[in-house]
Symmetry: C2
Subunit: 222 residues, 2 copies
């Protein structure tokens, strides 16, 4: 039975990893849709979102079945409980990619972004994909050092987010209030995407060590 149990747990972990990968590539395509005012791509992200939601439901069910049939204890129990929490974070990452795609669709055929901030969002998209992949890798390898490295990507995202606000507020913003509102929301979506990836990493560290990382190692996203 222990073997069957560990197979089920591995399968649950793979599901979570797959979700991270999907969330990352959804954000990648949403970013392309945004930068190129590409309606087809935006629609694709929106319709593909169903897939992440379905995986969420399946992963939650798998975790529930594991608890019900195997009644795991100690480290094994911790793994399953963390998985349930991780599902919510990755599901949210997918929803944030969906939000970006929806803004791209809403403004089509116009571009959402003034050209001056395109570079920021191209970079935020790049970091988001890396975070999705890194979270997937951390889930599979359970390597605390890799988990800590997610923090660096998150710092990069926070820097971009802060810089964008400087562009919006400190200089002469010439692109009107609508563009400012869109940029504010979009920037917030990317920042939250990164925060959830960090949260996944924190949960994995908890799975492995039984304690959450200290604020110095991986700060709690707020």
């Amino acid at each position: 039975m222990r073997t069957a149990y560990h197979e089920q747990l591995d399968s649950l972990t793979s599901q979570l990893g797959e979700m991270c990968g999907l969330a990352g590539s959804a954000m990648e395509r949403a970013t392309q849709a945004l930068l190129q005012a590409d309606l087809v791509l935006a629609e694709q992200v929106i319709s593909d979102h169903e897939q992440i939601s379905a995986l969420s439901v399946r992963a939650e069910e798998s975790a529930f079945v594991l608890l019900a049939l195997q009644a795991p204890v100690a480290g094994d129990l911790r793994s399953v409980v963390s998985s349930i929490q991780i599902v919510a974070d990755v599901d949210r990452m997918g929803a944030l990619a969906l939000h970006v795609a929806k803004i791209a669709r809403r403004r089509h055929p116009q571009h959402v972004l003034p050209e001056e901030v395109n570079g920021y969002f191209a970079e935020m998209g790049r970091v988001a994909v890396e975070l999705g992949n890194a979270a997937q890798e951390v889930l599979i390898t359970r390597d605390p050092e890799k988990a800590a490295r997610i923090q660096e990507e998150d710092d990069a995202m926070d820097d971009l987010h802060r810089h964008l606000f400087t562009v919006l507020m400190d200089r002469e913003w010439k692109h009107g209030v609508t563009a400012a509102v869109d940029v504010t929301l979009l920037s917030r979506f990317y920042e939250r995407f990164a925060d959830h990836a960090v949260e996944v990493a924190r949960r994995v560290i908890f799975q492995v060590t039984g304690t959450y990382p200290t604020e110095e190692q991986i700060p709690t996203p707020r």
Copy 2:
């Protein structure tokens, strides 16, 4: 043992309810701080946030101990798993109140809001408190009808959120980009606060019935 178990589960539910109440009153005070540029109140929300975080940790631990020592099954297992998920939502409600307080503090001694939108935020604050109280009540009573009523409050919040965007975008906004950015973020924080309260209600319905409400009964917050 069953009695001890149910006492522990009741105590966990009370902890979650208490967290909802605290999150609601944090949002109430954050709203006052915002509307009156009240630094003392903003600081109070910020320092009190520790209390919600501590309760989150305690509630998670209680749920973990319940799983480890009692290995509940069926409906009881569902209750504990839902509780773990609910902790994350209520913790986030507290964090969103914290965000509002921090914006009030950042702009002090100035008012964050142009007078024209004060009414919207006063109303959003009022709805947020009702949502906190309603979520608490739903947790304690486990009444699906009360849970469905949370949806009405959330609809009210969504309306306010949409109207605010109309004010920002469709009319002549005369208050500059900084105020527009603040209003955008703040409005988003209140909307998310409401979404998490709805999510708590959905989880309670799942606890009671074993299935999530349909989209018509309580739509998934996105």
